[in-house]
């Protein structure tokens, strides 16, 4: 009886396991192995990883000025983009909670999520153009000399990170909106009877009850930021002078411009490790909950 039950279960699970192994695990293991060999085919992990990590395009500590290297650029992206999108999405979700026609506004904000990132990058390159872009026009209206921030090494990475907030805020907004609808109205009514102010209700009811979904939003956003490619590729190509280079772009550069798949595999493995560092705690927490 039990063996038949297990056989049925296995029959359902097996196709998924085969697919996961073929599409996820096997390529990941092969990439990891490839990263341990030099381009000449010699097993020398130290040399291969050392060559990549000492490349100025990956890490650059020559001066305090950009470019800092792809790893630091990804971290800058996370520091700027993560809190901005998560908090903005949360605030908008709370703000629109009781607004009539909120679905229309939320859908408009969500458009950023459905736009391909390469198109988003192209839109940004025009957005920042000093003569035809909305940012340039706004700067001129305020009497500020218009300058395209994407063209200057000291502003380019920040312009990209801030400029891409609209592309991802919809994700935070939609998830937080959905989670907000699950909080019983009674909690707020009771708190109001007890004399709680709106900010206190926000910090002591809304935030704690949204914590689990906020964690998901944070993890997914960090993963998105780590694998950012299309926006940078289309808006700046990693320039000027590598000032906007990021890990995924560097991986592309190694693998498909230099045909150096071993170096590309090292960058992929670095990305994998960074993603695991972020996602494992969330998965463990989800299991324990």
């Amino acid at each position: 009886m039990y063996s038949r039950k297990y056989a049925t279960a296995a029959a359902f699970i097996l196709p998924a396991l085969i697919l996961i192994f073929a599409i996820d695990l096997y390529p990941a293991i092969r990439t990891l192995i490839l990263s341990l060999y030099t381009p000449e085919g010699v097993f020398d992990p130290v040399a291969n990883w050392g060559a990549v990590l000492s490349d100025r395009k990956m890490l650059n500590f020559r001066s305090w000025e950009p470019p800092y290297g792809a790893i630091i650029h990804n971290l800058i992206w996370i520091v700027i983009h993560l809190p901005t999108t998560v908090i903005l999405g949360l605030l908008l979700a709370v703000l629109f909670r009781r607004v009539k026609g909120k679905a229309v506004v939320q859908s408009i904000i969500f458009i950023g999520m459905v736009i391909p990132m390469v198109v988003g990058g192209l839109i940004m390159s025009f957005m920042f153009d000093r003569s035809i872009g909305v940012v340039g026009i706004a700067a001129r209206l305020f009497g500020t000399p218009a300058q395209n921030p994407l063209r200057y090494p000291d502003t380019a990475i920040y312009a990209l990170a801030f400029g891409s907030v609209w592309l991802w805020t919809g994700f935070s907004l939609i998830l937080h909106s959905a989670a907000l609808s699950t909080i019983p109205q009674d909690y707020y009514d009771q708190a109001r009877v007890d004399g709680a102010s709106a900010p206190r209700m926000f910090f002591q009811i809304t935030i704690p009850l949204l914590a689990s979904i906020t964690r998901v939003v944070i993890v997914m956003t960090v993963i998105w930021e780590l694998k950012i490619f299309g926006i940078v590729f289309a808006a700046t190509g990693g320039g000027p002078g590598n000032a906007t280079n990021v890990l995924a772009l560097q991986m592309y550069d190694y693998a498909f411009r230099q045909f150096n798949f071993n170096y590309g595999a090292v960058v992929t493995t670095i990305l994998l490790i960074m993603v695991l560092i972020v996602s494992i705690p969330m998965v463990r927490r989800s299991i324990s909950e």
Binding site: R56, S125, P153, G237, G239, P240, G241, F256, R257
Partner: protein, 400 residues
């Protein structure tokens, strides 16, 4: 009854091949050749009559795919490893083609294409271990700085014949009302900036400097190269004579509208402006060579119909070119094609570049890591000309 019917049906089925064998022979199947190119929009439309004529004259069927360089660099290495290719006849950049030729994925055309039938250098875009791999097609030259003749006439601008006159022209342009900058700086990934820099290197360092840099015989940090940058390009950047890098088609529109005075671009802009008749072009004084981008075809080693693929490539290099250049947008590399068949704008380009040494595009020829570094560093130079030495050192690190 039913059994008899089944037997009868089976008998007919069995006998069918016998009758079929006696039937008149089917005509031979038309060979199909898969071709990929990167032209879209107006450029793609110019190629359509060529393909139609090829099918008619060669009696083949051509299936066409548009594959840009960005697609090919990710697609080809993986397909090559699996001993496949996305097309039998492909257009691609020389750097990528050299990689494929080195690894044996492309067919040598050394015995099929005579370099003397083409303009100098056109048949030698991809030479690996003494074997030639590219079948030359049309060429797009980068003849110099474009200007609107009506604009120059209206403002009394004089086309320069010396460096001093060039500087005077820039000063005069800079003083015009509504002028954003005298020279438009097109930007893409950075490639338009490399074109103008290459022109300065050829004009002030000679064609030998261009070739030496391409071959890795001259260092980017050498005094001679640094001098061209420091004395010719950097002063113009510091004076603000070059505009801020702007997406190149937007820069083209703004230049045409009068926001910029002159614009360094390739001959393809003749098909992108409202009135090609209004176009004028001049080179920096002393220029003895011109960079041409030769569009080439490469035949895959994995072509199913290799003979038909080679035949098509050869036809494109000769008769195909004739049909293409008659429509404008490019000039021919096949020497049997007379410039008389070009539209007026292309005729002017042919006249302007006659007698000049043709050179292949520097960064296209090298490709790989150098190309992306070169593009990115020139973008940096445009906004930080004071960092010249550091920029040249970075370029040198990835140079051949």
């Amino acid at each position: 009854m039913t059994n008899r019917l089944v037997l009868l049906f089976a008998g007919v089925l069995l006998a069918f091949p016998l009758f079929a064998g006696a039937a008149p022979e089917e005509p031979d199947e038309i060979p199909t050749v898969r071709l990929s190119h990167s032209w879209t929009g107006a450029e793609g439309e110019l190629f359509e009559p060529v393909l139609a004529a090829a099918e008619e004259e060669l009696g083949i069927s051509i299936t066409t795919t548009v594959l840009r360089h960005e697609d090919l660099v990710t697609l080809l290495p993986t397909q090559w490893r699996a001993e496949r290719s996305p097309a039998d006849v492909m257009a691609m950049r020389p750097g990528l083609a050299a990689e494929g030729a080195q690894q044996g994925h492309l067919v040598s055309v050394t015995d099929r294409i005579d370099p003397d039938d083409f303009v100098p250098g056109a048949a030698e875009v991809t030479v690996v271990n003494g074997e030639r791999y590219n079948v030359p097609y049309i060429q797009k030259t980068k003849p110099g700085f474009w200007y609107r003749r009506s604009f120059a006439e209206e403002h009394g601008l004089v086309i320069p014949e010396t460096w001093d006159e060039f500087m005077t022209l820039l000063e005069n342009l800079d003083q015009l009302d509504g002028m954003d900058a005298p020279i438009a700086s097109g930007n893409g990934d950075g490639w338009p900036l490399t074109d103008v820099v290459e022109h300065f290197l050829i004009a002030f360092g000679g064609p030998e400097m261009h070739v030496g840099l391409r071959e890795g015989e001259i260092s980017w940090t050498s005094d001679a190269v640094r001098e061209v940058f420091a004395e010719r390009i950097v002063p113009l950047l510091e004076e603000g004579y070059f505009g801020e890098p702007t997406e190149w088609t937007t820069a083209l529109e703004r230049w045409w509208a009068g926001d910029y005075g002159i614009y360094f671009m390739g001959s393809w802009i003749t098909g992108m402006v409202e009135d090609p008749e209004d176009l004028g072009v001049f080179m920096l004084p002393g220029t003895e060579a011109v960079v041409s981008h030769v569009d080439s075809w490469y035949v895959s080693d994995y072509a199913e119909n290799r003979d038909a693929a080679l035949e098509l490539a050869e036809w494109l290099a000769t008769e195909g070119q004739r049909i293409h250049v008659q429509q404008g947008g490019a000039t021919a590399t096949y020497v049997e094609i007379s410039p008389d068949i070009y539209p007026p704008a292309e005729q002017r380009i042919a006249e302007a570049t006659a007698g000049l040494e043709p050179l292949v595009d520097l960064d296209d020829a090298i490709g790989g890591e150098f190309q992306s570094t070169f593009w990115g560093e020139l973008q940096l130079l445009w906004v930080r000309p004071g960092q010249l030495d550091e920029i040249l050192e970075t370029i040198e690190e990835d140079a051949p």
